[in-house]
Amino acid sequence: MDDVRLMKGNEALAEASIRAGCQAYFGYPITPQSEILEYLTAEARQRGMIVLQAESEVAAINMVYGGAGAGARVMTTSSSPGISLMQEGLSYIAAAELPCLVVNVNRGGPGLGTIQPSQGDYFQAVKGGGHGDYHLIVLAPSSVQEMADFVFDAFDLADKYRNPAMILADGALGQMMEKVEFRQYDPAGHIPPKPWATTGKPASRERNIITSLHIQPEKMEEINLRLQEKYRVIREQEVRFEELDTEDADIVIVAYGLVARIAHRASQLARDEGIKAGVLRPITLFPFPTLPIRALAERVDGILVVEMNAGQMVEDVRLSVEGRTPVGFYGRMGGVIPSPEEVVDALKKLIAQKQPRHAEAY
């Protein structure tokens, strides 16, 4: 079949963006995701996509603002330090309610850090990141297949809610090769009309203004309330997650992205040793699968959160669990990927501790 290929995650994501009808890409090179810019540059001319290598991530995200405001399906991609530079622009984009896709192929930080995989940008991705009260819709792929699939989904969600969407991947997902099958997708059937865009004002309509400036406090609060209402609807309708072997599980690992696959291997190893383990994988990080995790917490003996960071999503898991069951944490940082064996050890530690609720296991 023509549409099945062996590709790097970054390349699969780039190919999917063309197939999703992305009209313009604005980006700046940074490891470990520069293949996206390279792939799109090579493909752009013959496939009718605008690709512009900007002078910085700051310029790139503001080009995304301009392009989205002009009514086009647009995107940018970067990795952690570059995403930090984009935070001001993302706040403006969220406030002006412009649909777009931003991809973070997360590397280890803080600072210049390392080019190896990390999940250290979880807080930045799901809690806003820039100034003010706003949220991105955040999807976390765990395979090369999902690096492609989530491009279509993220663009559609962005358009549906007029909100920036983010794919939060990591350096390993970007660099590793797997089989990927591209879905049938006709952009014309997915991209909605954008009557609010700045396309040139015909005499038949009022002028369109893209702005995030509302100097009157009452007006600005009204805008905020509208945004919050949008986020409430997103929380209600767009939660995505996956449960693996949880039906009879006594203990559950909550992990996202690449780590969810390691966690699933760990749960299988644990079952070999008689520990009934399962995995819950949040697929949307915002909206977070609060209720499914709460439901699990009602019936399991403990939850272990595993991340490639110092413990970020674990805070959202604890807020979901609200003391119903002990929540432990195991993490590696700085670009180190945890092994399934390490995770099994952490599971055993959590079980052995028989800790009081709210206690931590490191």
Binding site: S56, Y65, G66, G69, G71, K201, P202
Partner: protein, 260 residues
């Protein structure tokens, strides 16, 4: 002076020839700018040009952060409000998406020549087919009169209370000269609005800029040496005299680059 009410019948009114009116490219909203400020004149001239060229439906503007942050309240065209300094990056994308539209950014000295220097230079260097209108009044007006990159040596502002010195703040940045050097720039000119004749010259420069944009000649960069009576703590008349005496020696009016 009190406004004078002229009463006439509809019949009498129809015998009159209209020689001057508000162009349809401006909204009915009154400018909020301080008395004597150049912004409202430049807004008006820019929109007169859009009106006379008949390109209102094809023109998209980008407003900056600064006193003209609300430019979109007055200009009756589609507009985007950019983050501070990023107007030319925003305009770049708008133009790339809609290459058949006329696109301009409208920016002050702090926006264009301080926080947005990188975007300004690189947009110009890419030769984006847009118009950049640069209002240089040598001060941050909106935030209350702080020193700008274009503030003159010795000029007093709230952050250079004893006058700008080279030792602490370097030299006035002549960014139009820098931009004019770049091959991507088709047209770079320095104008002003302190006299009726200067306003007419600016109008010609803006008209030419839209023509060059239509011909895809490259970026057009129109600096307007303007004033800030409030920030300069002068009357409008004093400000315009001061502009001629002190701004023009550093920022002399005239074309820096014209298309070959």
């Amino acid at each position: 002076m009190d406004a004078v009410e002229i009463t006439m019948t509809e019949e009498e009114r129809q015998t009159l020839e209209c020689v001057y009116e508000r162009p349809g490219t401006l909204t009915d909203m009154r400018f909020h700018y301080c008395p004597g400020c150049g912004h409202s004149v430049v807004h008006r001239v820019l929109m007169e040009v859009v009106d006379e060229l008949g390109i209102q439906e094809q023109t998209i503007g980008v407003a900056p952060v600064g006193c003209s942050v609300f430019a979109y309240h007055y200009l009756n065209i589609d507009m985007q409000e950019a983050a501070h300094g990023r107007a030319s990056a925003v305009a770049t994308a708008v133009k790339r998406i809609h290459p058949d539209r006329y696109v301009f950014s409208y920016q002050g000295d702090g926006d264009l020549a301080a926080i947005g220097t990188a975007e300004t230079i690189h947009t110009a260097n890419r030769g984006e087919n847009i118009l950049v209108v640069f209002i240089n009044n040598a001060i941050y007006g909106m935030t209350g009169g702080q020193m700008a990159p274009t503030t003159l040596l010795g000029m007093k502002t709230s952050t250079s209370p004893a006058g700008r010195t080279v030792e602490t703040a370097g030299f006035p940045l002549k960014i139009t000269d820098m931009v004019a050097m770049l091959p991507g720039v088709a047209y770079a000119t320095r104008q002003s609005v302190h006299t009726p004749n200067a306003v007419r010259q600016l109008k010609k420069a803006l008209t030419k800029s839209f023509q060059y944009q239509k011909e895809k000649k490259g970026l057009c960069f129109v600096e307007v040496v303007s004033n800030c009576p409030s920030g300069w703590k002068m009357t409008p008349v004093e400000a315009n005299h001061w502009l001629v005496e002190h701004m023009f020696p550093v920022y002399p009016p005239g074309d820096l680059k014209v298309p070959q």
